[in-house]
Amino acid sequence: MSLAIEVHGLRFRYGNGPWVLDIPELTLERGTRAFLFGPSGSGKTTLLGVLAGVLKAQEGEVKLLGRDLTSLSGAQRDAFRAEHIGYVFQMFNLIPYLSVLDNIALPARMNAARRARLDGAGVKETAALLADHLHIGDLLKKRVTELSVGQQQRVAACRALIGAPEIIVADEPTSSLDFDRREVFLELLFAECELAGATLVFVSHDRTLESMFSRTISLPDINRTAL
């Protein structure tokens, strides 16, 4: 099985500050549901930034789907992210001036490749379908400010999933939800990832969810700077 993520000798720091990441090795096979665990300040968000191509590692290789991000320019990394990565933030995921539908549709409108993967269906139809799958089909016309936190996170998940990106990165998306809702949210997310064959990188500091994933990675264990 081919690799979704392949990291070798990654070192990253902000400006001339201390090294934040020093990861000799990290590989994830395609279709993995990975649980990336680490306490606050262990560099989780920074690692996600590097994997998403927003931050550029100073040393090492960061291969996603076989492409080495460190060899790409900023614009190329932006384009790569737009095409291949769906991202879910911890909270405040949505653009306040767009409707639920427009928020979900945003990546497809921004990137032609994501649009092309809709299999001939329209952006709106696909967004509506995803919303139905995540049980928020009745919210499409709403303003995002009218949604509950749980609803917002589902909208964010739909947005990450639209146009079937190969990798979904979720940065503690459930930390603002209560336990029951976390499980429901995760199950829905898993189902969609499976449907699309996407690799999920799920970051959390809360190990209670760990058992639901197919693989657990402890960041302090792989990141040599954390200690």
């Binding site: 927003v54 900023g74 992210r81 933030f89 653009i95 001036y97 990546p107 921004m110």
Partner: protein
Amino acid sequence: MLSLDLALKSLRNRAFSTSLTVGSIALSVALLIGVENVRVGMRESFSNTISQTDLIVGAKGGTIQLLLYSVFGMGSPTNNLSWDTYREWAEHPAIEWTIPYGLGDSHRGFRVIGTNEEFYRRYRYRGGQEIALAEGRAGSEVFDVTLGADVAAELGYGLGDQVAVTHGIGEVGFLNHDQMPFAVVGILDKTFTPVDRAVYVTLEGIEAIHFGWEDGAPPMPGEEQTRDDVLAMEEIEITQVTSFFVGATNRRDVLRLQREINDYEGEPMMAVIPGLALNEMWQGIGYAETGLRLVTIFVVLVGLLGMLVSLYTSLNERRREMAILRAVGAGPKRIVALLVLESVCLSAAGAIAGLALVYALLSAGQPIVEAQVGLFIPIRPPGSIELLFLAAVVTAGFLMGFVPALKAYRTALHDGLAVRV
């Protein structure tokens, strides 16, 4: 397209600050274009103070001075021309008509102009409009007086009222020709030119009130002549005029005629072409114009700076939004484009609203301005100047948009996906 859609939705989301910004730009643009319109109106009404007169002739002196006292009723004439000289020129074959002016007296601050029936027949202003009488008839007898519209309105005179003429042109003359009161026989229609602020009598009337004043001082007691004395005269001999307006038989002869008059040896005199002299005068006033325009340009800059401040201060609240856009694949260039587009949209909306405001104000205010200050501001479709201003405002908005945009660009690069709110 996506960026434009985002920009518009983002602006709509901040409707209050957006409308404030658009409003302030609109006001400043309206001021800029409004001032331009008023300026054009002023210039036109100025150069249309007198029309169809080919030459103005007076004693030798300053061009502008001649224009001032003959057309605008300002300043004092230096010298008079003799009646014989005037007659000689009036009969010149190249001259079709003349309007003689005898100046130097006033009535309660308004200039008294001695002229003849040619004035009512030939005088033209603002694109060839004629002098018309609102009431009564044109003065033709020695003690007839016809009032300009403002004079009648301000002094509350009606037909039949008696008017005493003051020697000299001060507000309160101390030497009154009050042994010879005139009677109002006519009131002119409003022209919104200096004609409205003048009192018209006949040249004979001017002569009559100056009987015994030949040496410039009032006649000795006992030597004054009364109204009845004058009326008893068979004929009053006119001795001088101050200036006269000339209509040439053929306009092509005007320059030659001007030279001929300037070279006249009988008496020192000069002729000016009103259009040229008015232009020359306007150039002098033009400094104020430039200053005014400069001020309005600064007002527009202030309006745009308001926009800059409002966009710039909104950026901090929008860091999260920028991070989301980055996460879904927007490059920093798109962030820049988004903010520049917002600023272009704001300034374009402001410019268009400002233009609309000007036309609304003009159509509402035009009659009022005309009635109150006599300034006719023409309403016409936006011309190249207006379009140039609008383009300049939008361009300035575009350039200013880069200030918040580059700030957002740097923030977006620095923040990445981690937003420290």
